[in-house]
Symmetry: C2
Subunit: 155 residues, 2 copies
DNA sequence: CTCATTGCAAAGGATTTGCACTAAT
DNA sequence: ATTAGTGCAAATCCTTTGCAATGAG
């Protein structure tokens, strides 16, 4: 198994983006399509710069402003989620229709692992209520050592 | 009850900062002391700009660079914690020796409420383990409506 | 054709840094 | 006296914006 989502899911997202553009009378420019392909075609959390680099790696080209503007369109379409891990810049991730998920980040190698947990969902709702808030969403990031880094660099 | 920590705790923090400076052969300049007083004297989460403003309000003066440099010293001393709520800038909060606490943020008025929960602590450790990570720390922010904003602006 | 998008460069906001000057010990 | 800190402005980093040229429908 690779770390990419299956081809069908990716293809569905691409088509969804085209539909979104059509439905909103937004021109389907070459730049938009490549950028969408890059972000929707991986499960990684890419920075705007990562996206620009990958676009060029694919032989295409898109100015920085266009990258940011298109990421914005993707976020508004709901197909992509903006993340801020406190690194000083934002990252973008294909949402794959997953309503909410948490992140585990290795403090040594930076590896990111995602997971979902229903109990956590419920717990945050209760915690909010206990303090007279009505929960809308939450964000949990757990920092720690991933198995590989814990077991040491020696293979 | 006010929303400030009690005077004794604040005074203890101030003294701790002076000790820290002494122990590290760092000059106790007027700027450092005012900035420390501002940050350690409230329970709010201040931005660098908030700090600079408050310093001036107290009749003192400190350049922007000095504010950032001093906040850095405070963070290294362990008396202050740096927070990133994804607003595009950082906030600083007196740590008061509290090892870890969570934040509830009102999406309407921006109010911040803190709380601690042991179960959550344990749960994050278990969640990390379940994915072959060893937990070091975590950060949870719950976004929602605070009671006042939910009940409406009237009255 | 017409209007939205693109690219580039300038503008922005937050934070950092270089450096001559000033102050703490 | 020494050594570190301070202020100011220039510099960075990430992101946004203005505007003339360009391309999609």
């Amino acid at each position: 198994m690779s770390h990419e989502s299956d081809a069908a899911a990716i293809e569905a997202d691409r088509e969804a983006f085209r539909s979104y553009l059509r439905d909103h009378n937004l021109p389907a420019t070459a730049q938009r399509l490549v950028i969408a392909d890059v972000v929707l075609g991986t499960d990684r959390h890419l920075s705007a710069e990562d996206v620009a680099t990958e676009v060029k790696a694919r032989g295409a080209s898109a100015g920085t402003a266009t990258v940011y503007r298109t990421l914005d369109v993707l976020v508004r379409s709901g197909l992509v989620v903006e993340r801020d891990f406190g690194e000083g810049f934002k990252r973008y991730e294909a949402s794959r229709g997953v309503p909410n998920h948490e992140h585990l980040i290795c403090t040594v190698c930076g590896r990111v692992t995602e997971f979902r947990d229903e109990r956590l969902e419920r717990m945050t709702t209760l915690l909010a209520e206990a303090h007279d808030y009505s929960r809308q969403r939450h964000r949990l990031v757990i920092y720690g050592l991933c198995g590989d880094c814990r077991r040491g660099p020696a293979r």
